[in-house]
């Protein structure tokens, strides 16, 4: 159980959020003897709360606070109040993630250098390289138990039927296809069970085989006696002194009262909508545009990956749901090859939905997804195989999080408004992915291939981005604010570009690196 710290203890690191960034940072610091308080807006779930029930778990764990999605996109029409599909609870979205743990490719750290300026986009290079991050990727893979890696030596899961179907299609069209590197145990590891293949990775892993800060990092952090996790505590604003140093965090507590927790360092890891929202909500006389926002980039460059789905119907049974959710990935188009008509790469990730979610996402929206053709497709559910498309999403200044001028949430905070639209590059990439998917499935006899539009984003990035220059980004290569020394960003909002890979492994690698940096600076008396 958590140790308790005093509100006036100003020697603590206060971490906002307990997911891949916050939960990992708390444990990394705790193992070095650095004490922290973790403020988590959601509740603490138990393993018994985890059910194999798509809508049941969606209703139970999702972040469903009021958010407005605007912009010329089908997503905004279909899901006007649900831009992101993320979790509110101790463990954050590591409860929901599918476990895909891929490293960024070298070129993805320097997209501007590689492709030059792209009209209508705001693409920049990261202030670090793959070589800088590689040792931390290894540490992250060891920590999380990523199968199929040198770091763990843990074997892959073995090929599920869903994977075999996709592998056969990939072979026919000459596309590279590999089993997925998943942070899901295939052997007992770190006190957690191996995968039983329930097929419900994204509803939370009932067996704890999938790495989640909920039951991996956080209990370890608490066991050191250096960490107090406070569930049901919503951060309202970060305060600072007259010199512009962060002094602590005002939050709405589980008791319904407001409290102020003093801090030596504040680390924001609340996901890419809430993290910039907190900085914007913390505007003051000294920082009228929000904390850490001298660049004007806080809330901008919101990236979600270029997504979509492609689900093929065959004449024969597949039972794709009898598999890890992501058993494998077609990587043929993950490189940066502008001759395809778009910069950046994409992965075709074999990914199943259960029947309830398939009915909701096959043709989403209040007025769509019904009728004879739709019903026929649903009757073919057991004969489906499919991809979730996950591609590099270009940073655009106009894709951004702002605060609603009048509408307030249950905490009295302005509701976040999320503007998201495709760049032409995004549209071209998605169309290419639909086309290649169709070709692959048709090559093995698909009778019908459904193109699914994007659904609410679980990969949210870029809204407090890293940049070498203080005028072009919010944080430096350590996730430390350019403006405020003792203010850190510890989640995917620090990403300069989205890459094509699922973001969690990179968030964890960056966090381990950040923890080393914080510890070193603290030991030198600089923080």
């Amino acid at each position: 159980m958590s140790r308790q710290f005093d509100l006036n203890d100003d020697s603590l690191v206060v971490i906002i959020g307990s997911g891949a960034g916050g939960g990992t940072l708390a444990n990394e610091l705790a193992q070095k003897g650095i004490r922290s308080v973790v403020l988590e807006a959601g509740k603490r779930f138990t393993m018994e709360d985890i059910e194999n029930d798509e809508w049941g778990m969606f209703n139970k764990i999702s972040w469903l606070d009021q958010r407005n999605l605007v912009g010329p996109s089908r997503l905004a029409e279909d899901f006007p109040n649900l831009p992101a599909w993320i979790v509110k609870g101790v463990g954050g979205s590591t409860i929901h993630w599918a476990g895909v743990a891929m490293r960024f490719q070298e070129h993805e750290f320097k997209m501007k250098t590689l492709n030059g300026a792209i009209a209508g986009a705001n693409v920049e290079d990261w202030p670090l390289t793959l070589q800088d991050l590689a040792p931390y990727y290894t540490l992250a893979e060891k920590k999380m138990g990523v199968c199929g890696t040198e770091a763990t030596g843990m074997p892959f899961h073995g090929k599920s039927t869903h994977y075999k179907v996709i592998e056969a299609g990939a072979k026919k069209v000459g596309a590279r296809c590999e089993q997925a590197h998943l942070a899901i145990n295939t052997v007992p590891f770190d006190g957690r069970a191996p995968c039983q293949v329930t097929g419900f990775c994204m509803q939370g892993c009932r067996f704890g085989a999938k790495w989640s800060t909920m039951y991996a990092e956080i209990p370890k952090a608490e066991a050191t006696g250096n960490v107090e996790v406070r569930p049901n505590c919503m951060a309202l604003r970060i305060e600072h002194d007259r010199n512009g140093r962060a002094t602590g965090v005002l939050y709405a507590g589980a008791d319904g009262q407001e409290h102020f927790q003093k801090a030596r360092i504040v680390a924001v890891a609340a996901n890419s909508i809430e993290s910039p929202r907190i900085l914007l909500n913390s505007a003051s006389n000294l920082f009228p545009d929000g904390l850490a926002n001298s660049s004007g980039q806080v809330g901008k460059n919101y990236m979600t990956h270029v997504t979509g789905g492609s689900y093929a119907e065959f004449d024969h049974p597949v039972h794709m749901e009898r598999s890890t959710v992501v058993p494998g990935i077609v990587k043929e188009w993950e490189d940066n090859d502008p001759s395809r008509g778009h910069v950046g790469g994409y992965e075709l990730e074999a990914l199943h939905l259960g029947l309830p979610f398939m009915s909701a996402f096959l043709d989403p929206g209040a007025a769509n997804g019904w009728g004879r053709q739709f019903a026929r497709s649903m009757e073919n559910y057991s004969k489906m195989a499919g991809f979730w498309i996950c591609g590099e999403d270009l940073a655009l200044e106009s894709n951004r999080i702002t605060l609603h001028p009048t509408e307030k949430d249950q905490y009295g905070l302005p509701v976040p408004v999320v503007h998201k639209a495709d760049h032409e590059n995004d549209t071209r990439m998605r169309d290419h992915a639909y086309r290649m998917s169709k070709e692959l499935f048709t090559a093995i006899g698909a009778r019908h291939v459904n193109d699914l539009p994007p659904y609410p984003a679980s990969h949210n990035m870029g809204t407090n981005r890293m940049h070498a220059n203080a005028q072009d980004g919010v944080v430096n290569q350590w996730g430390q604010s350019h403006d405020i020394d003792n203010l850190f960003i510890s989640d995917g909002s620090q990403f300069t570009s989205s890459g094509t890979e699922n973001p969690t492994l990179t968030i964890v690698a960056l966090t381990i690196r950040q923890a080393d940096y914080i510890a070193e600076r603290m030991s030198r008396g600089e923080l």
Binding site: F79, V197, G199, F200, H319, P356, S359, A366, G445
Partner: protein, 167 residues
């Protein structure tokens, strides 16, 4: 999306409240397995059933699954439903000289529904049906969907890696 959680709760509440009654309300004939409210209001039930079966047409699924799903709507949104059905009938008579249920051609009925698919009435009925048909564990076997698997130890030893013999 935000409408779905409410629909789920409504459906569950209905099943809890009336599940025991369904078995005791059997009657003979085609309506034999209809829920009690439908037997009491057969005209309304017939109109809703036709609509439901045009939104999600699955021949293998019995009437009662459509009707049970729609019952909470009649409790909570009766006026909206009644007005929507009347409007649909008006449109049907204008186009085909017959009430909606009297139109025999499937495609003609679907065309009429395309004209109202953006109305709150249609979205409400569709949202309830979506949960009642596709999120109903009793119907999952019809679709070959296994549902919850952890109680059976997942699929690790139950054929997750079966070879697709058709490739």
């Amino acid at each position: 999306m935000t409408a779905y959680p409410r629909a789920t709760l409504s459906r569950r509440r209905f099943l809890t409240l009336t599940g025991a009654l369904t078995a005791g309300s059997l009657a003979l004939g085609a309506t034999g397995l209809w829920p009690r409210w439908a037997l009491a209001e057969p005209d309304l039930a017939q109109r809703l059933l036709r609509l439901g079966r045009d939104i999600y047409p699955h021949e293998a699924i019995a009437d009662r699954y459509y009707l049970e799903t729609l019952a909470p709507l009649l409790e909570e949104n009766r006026e909206l439903v009644a007005a929507g059905l009347d409007d649909l009938d008006r449109r049907a008579r204008a186009a085909h000289g017959s009430d909606y249920v009297g139109i025999e051609n499937d495609a003609e009925r679907e065309t009429l529904l395309r004209d109202i698919q953006h109305t709150p009435f249609f979205a409400t009925v569709k949202g309830s049906l979506l949960m009642g048909i596709y999120n109903n564990p009793a119907l999952w076997p019809e679709f070959g969907y296994g549902g919850s698997s952890w109680e059976q130890g997942g699929y690790l030893h139950r054929g997750f890696d079966a070879d697709p013999d058709w490739l």
